[in-house]
Subunit: 399 residues, 2 copies
């Protein structure tokens, strides 16, 4: 193929994942293969802010060995931001890119980041500047529309499933019988639901899984805990940080201060701690909560090999398709087959992704609203992509 002209800029937006730098490397490698040797391959520092501030880095510089190590590192190697663009800023960004003779722009990010990408593609079109704008998906929340799943999710799913196995191994032997594992996800329960992978035997935990898509009242939650405790004497619960009751209230109740900051604003997280307090207060059971939080999306040790490969490939696809002259799209992952698992990459319009959320479909949630269906295990298992450590038991055969 004839090497393409024009410089390329890549940036990373939103919260990092364990594999977001694999996407970055995919973009850079594909660009190096397709662009003219004189074309720049630049990284913008701190996402779209780096475009507005003209902060570039030459990404042709690191050698492939360094790149392999960077691709396997958590965190956003270029830095990130949560900046949304006004229409004026989008015009300004296009002016900056035009002045730098940039013809290809790839933004690696989630639904919030796809909005600036969309606005820039529209502003470029309006000013008749030929700029090829691509999105590369990235989010542990797995909440982007028009894609089977999102790079970053599989690794976070693997981490939290293993954490649930480990936690259950600890709690089943303990005098503190209730432990509540808080999982990231304000509006979407995909990641929390992935803890179903920890379950294999009938008494395995998590015994109760609550997602934001299926609100539960405090009373219902307490009855669930009571029932599981009566059956087997210990309870592990997985809950999305964004869980609310049917009226949109925190399960900690109106007087719960745990999820409110000094200004009275809702703070992320805290729901598991509030639920543990509730269990102790209402059921008289010792309860505690765990919240690995960011540690779960930054754990390279638990990165899913499948997820890492797809992150890189979706970055490559985004770069390739942009360099071929397309704009205003995101690279999406299509599950082409389930047995064995296989995917294809396809372009989908940024307008169908930007600012939109894809929540967990109701059919994956059980009728009792306290667990997920086995069909969800089939969905998530290949994405977690690595064997989980399971432990033998010595707790049978007591005289």
């Amino acid at each position: 193929m004839t090497p393409a002209k024009g410089n390329l800029v890549v940036a990373q937006g939103g919260g990092p994942t364990a594999v977001v730098n694999a996407s970055l490397y995919g973009v850079v490698r594909e660009a190096a293969a397709r662009l003219d040797a004189s074309a720049g391959i630049w990284g913008a520092r701190s996402g779209i802010l780096g475009v507005l501030n003209r902060r570039w880095m030459d990404l042709r510089r690191p050698d492939p060995e360094n790149w392999e190590a960077i691709a396997a590192s958590p965190g956003a190697a270029l830095g990130s931001c949560r900046k949304m663009l006004t229409d004026e800023e989008a015009v300004e960004a296009v002016a900056v890119l035009k002045a730098a003779e940039v013809r290809h722009f790839v933004y690696i990010g989630g639904n919030d980041s796809m909005d600036p990408a969309l606005k820039i593609s529209q502003a470029a079109a309006a000013s008749h500047y030929e700029l090829h704008v691509a999105g590369a998906p990235k989010t542990i929340d797995n909440d982007l529309p028009l894609t089977d799943h999102c790079p970053g999710f599989g690794s976070a799913a693997r981490y939290i499933a293993q954490a649930a196995i480990d936690l259950c191994a600890d709690v089943r032997a303990l005098p503190t019988p209730v432990s509540i594992l808080e999982v990231m996800g304000r509006n979407a329960g995909w990641l929390t639901a992935a803890t179903v992978l920890a379950r294999r035997d009938p008494d395995d935990g998590p015994h109760l899984i609550y997602v934001p898509e299926a609100p539960v009242s405090a009373g219902r939650f307490l009855r669930d805990v009571e029932r599981v405790h009566a059956r087997q004497g210990w309870v592990v619960v997985a809950v999305s940080e964004g869980l609310r009751d049917e009226n949109g209230r925190s399960l900690g109740g109106p007087r719960d201060q745990a999820a409110v900051d000094g200004f009275g604003h809702a703070m992320p997280g805290g729901v598991a701690a509030a639920m543990a307090r509730l269990v102790t207060a209402e059921l008289g059971l010792r309860a505690r909560s765990e919240k690995p939080g960011l540690c779960g999306r930054a754990c390279a040790l638990m990165a899913s090999p499948v997820d890492g490969r797809e992150a890189r490939e979706s970055g490559q696809f985004a770069a390739a398709w942009a360099i071929q002259g397309h704009s205003g799209f995101m690279a999406s992952i299509h599950r082409a087959a389930s047995g064995p698992y296989a995917v294809e990459y396809r372009p989908v319009p940024l307008a169908g992704v930007a600012n939109l959320e894809r929540r967990l479909p109701p059919e994956y949630v059980n009728a009792e609203r306290n667990g997920v269906e086995e069909s969800y295990r089939d969905y998530v298992e290949p994405l977690a992509g690595g064997p989980l450590l399971r432990y033998p038991r010595l707790d049978t055969g007591w005289e």
Copy 2:
């Protein structure tokens, strides 16, 4: 050697660790080598409760291959408890053991568990029943006196140091500039201090490390955060769950509800969430908190090989010394050499360990009370015993 007579009982008390079953296996293996083939090697279910309730399991049954897998599993394979014994219950326990012709009793546990062990050894002596009572140390808190360190600690230290590295990789690229990592430890800061292993380069985190042995006021904490933030734009803090100010109050202030349950009782944990709220309220900086909690002591993937070996060997030492006729002692670890690291096992009196805490010595805490000295790194590094995953950076060379 002549095989010894009498049955042996082993039990596990207190919170589990990633290597507590390696200690169990050490006891069982040593007992099998030293006891007469007709002697029973029994596990008591749920710690000392299993003795009182006469719940035994035949530990000669699992084959060595199963034992290797069990030894590498987190959680207490026999079940655990936090039961303290009254004098009457200690007499009762001795009667149960005598009736079952048990001559050797090994209790794997921390300072709370060494108290029942001591009481049982005293009750046996008072009733002139020859019972050999041994303690095998176990605690992620590392707070047992008369030992250089405790099995379980090294693995928890390795886990939390890696979690700190991962968290820093995530936060350094983020628009949320402050993250506070809560580490287990109500009274002793050994484990929190181990996050120093995450630091290598000058700007590596955790930038601030707070331990219960060095109380800090909210004002001092906020000034520390402000200073680090001004210098480099992001801050990672490691804090012991038991941190208090100079007046023994939570840093969340008197109106902080986060650490109080429905009865108004203090709940474990919550200090990091309270400190994050404080940072947002007083400094106007976005802040969040992470709390891996029990996940950190149950993560077999991050178990330290050194710790696992010492857990097994201290169990072996406890069993061997008991079977040789000694009683009322705990197996302690003596650091025989530092370069290269080597240990010896020695008996220390249970009376010097039971219910006593060894806190972090002041010389390991820096003068500013917000970090630990390099001498502590030398202490803890060999215990964590495995390489930590470090990540390259791409954040230099910006134009």
